[in-house]
Subunit: 192 residues, 2 copies
DNA sequence: CCAAAAGTGTGACCTATATCACACTTTTTT
DNA sequence: AAAAAAGTGTGATATAGGTCACACTTTTGG
């Protein structure tokens, strides 16, 4: 029980709605724990996406390869983030994105069936996911705003502030691919 | 009752979950109908945002004014769209965006209190908003992808496909402000 | 119905950033 | 520990698209 109370997922959910031990036990039973090696793919473009991933530790990137073979990063996911190709996951279609471990990772996976079952059984969980999704929506809107409004310098500074740990944790070229500038331009940005 | 059955909001909700007449009647009672004049603001930057808006008819734009006074458009909202500054609305803080009628509009407004009440009372509604929010999240991700990946020509073509009616319904400069290019560049794009 | 405001197209110029190339450093693999 | 692979900084160009300017057209409001 002491274990249960300290579970990181429980803490995460209880930021939004409180749970009894049995609530949480029931919820957790719908997830599967997985350890992933560096460079492992958890979602591949053109394949189905049965799972959503909640990151316990490590760092993943969700990216898209364009017709010129160039990589564009949609999001990084570290501890406490949810990540999957939600379009493909919800609609049970093939993925347009890849999701890839940049470090060894621990994740909890949640299948669509289990998610919908959980949501149907427990109003609390449906509510939790609504709130999460709302927050995600707001975050994406801010990113769009910064792509429309900001110069690359401003976007770089914002990134720095938002993910201070990532800067020295992952190769710069991925940060460039997230910000939408070339590796070289990014390098020139912070040599000032 | 025949009126109720045909209500556009009911159709909209029933794309996701079916409702009894009394369900819908109860839901609708939490909304307020408003007619808006062209050029009217429904959300102003730096003010609180008590309502979410569901558009029956007309066209609104949600935009941001940057430090140089330049306008950036986050989203257009026409029939069946939901629009508000969700960050400010959910967190009861002041808005960073403006929302403005580009045409005379009819909308249904939903206060945060009523929304949370509805969601608490009816699991179906919570579920509906979760699904909507998920879909919105996916749409924003696609927009980010197109900002990161596409040339302006590609973004313009995508816009054309996605909102064929808007092209000749609203001034081009707003389309430019949505796509993230200058009015002049946009003009040159389609003179080919 | 007319004046003022808003919208639109096009030329001339300028700037931020992409691209290519290469040398050097750090990390990974065997 | 050596070889291979990946990451990084910096110079030389090339270019998409921004900005400014102006003429013309359409819409709006009194």
């Amino acid at each position: 029980m002491s274990d249960l109370a300290d579970h990181p997922l429980r803490k995460h959910i209880e930021e939004i709605t409180s749970l009894s031990d049995s609530d949480f036990e029931y919820i957790l039973s719908h997830f599967k724990y997985r350890q992933l090696k560096k460079h492992q793919y958890v979602v591949q473009a053109d394949e189905y996406v049965p799972n959503d991933f909640w990151v316990i530790s490590g760092c993943l990137k969700q990216f898209f390869i364009d017709k010129n073979g160039k990589e564009h990063i949609i999001q990084f996911a570290t501890s406490n983030w949810w990540v999957t190709d939600y379009d493909a996951y919800y609609n049970q279609t093939k993925s347009t994105f890849n999701i890839h471990c940049m470090e060894p990772c621990e994740v909890l996976t949640l299948s669509l069936t289990n998610r919908e079952k959980l949501c149907a059984d427990m109003h609390k969980v449906d509510h939790f996911f609504r709130r999460k999704s709302n927050a995600g929506y707001v975050a994406l809107q801010k990113r769009i705003l910064s792509l429309l409004t900001g110069t690359s310098t401003e976007r770089y500074e914002k990134f720095n502030k938002m993910y201070p740990d990532l800067i020295n944790r992952i190769p710069k070229k991925y940060i460039a691919a997230y910000l939408g500038v070339s590796r070289e331009t990014l390098s020139r940005l912070y040599s000032k």
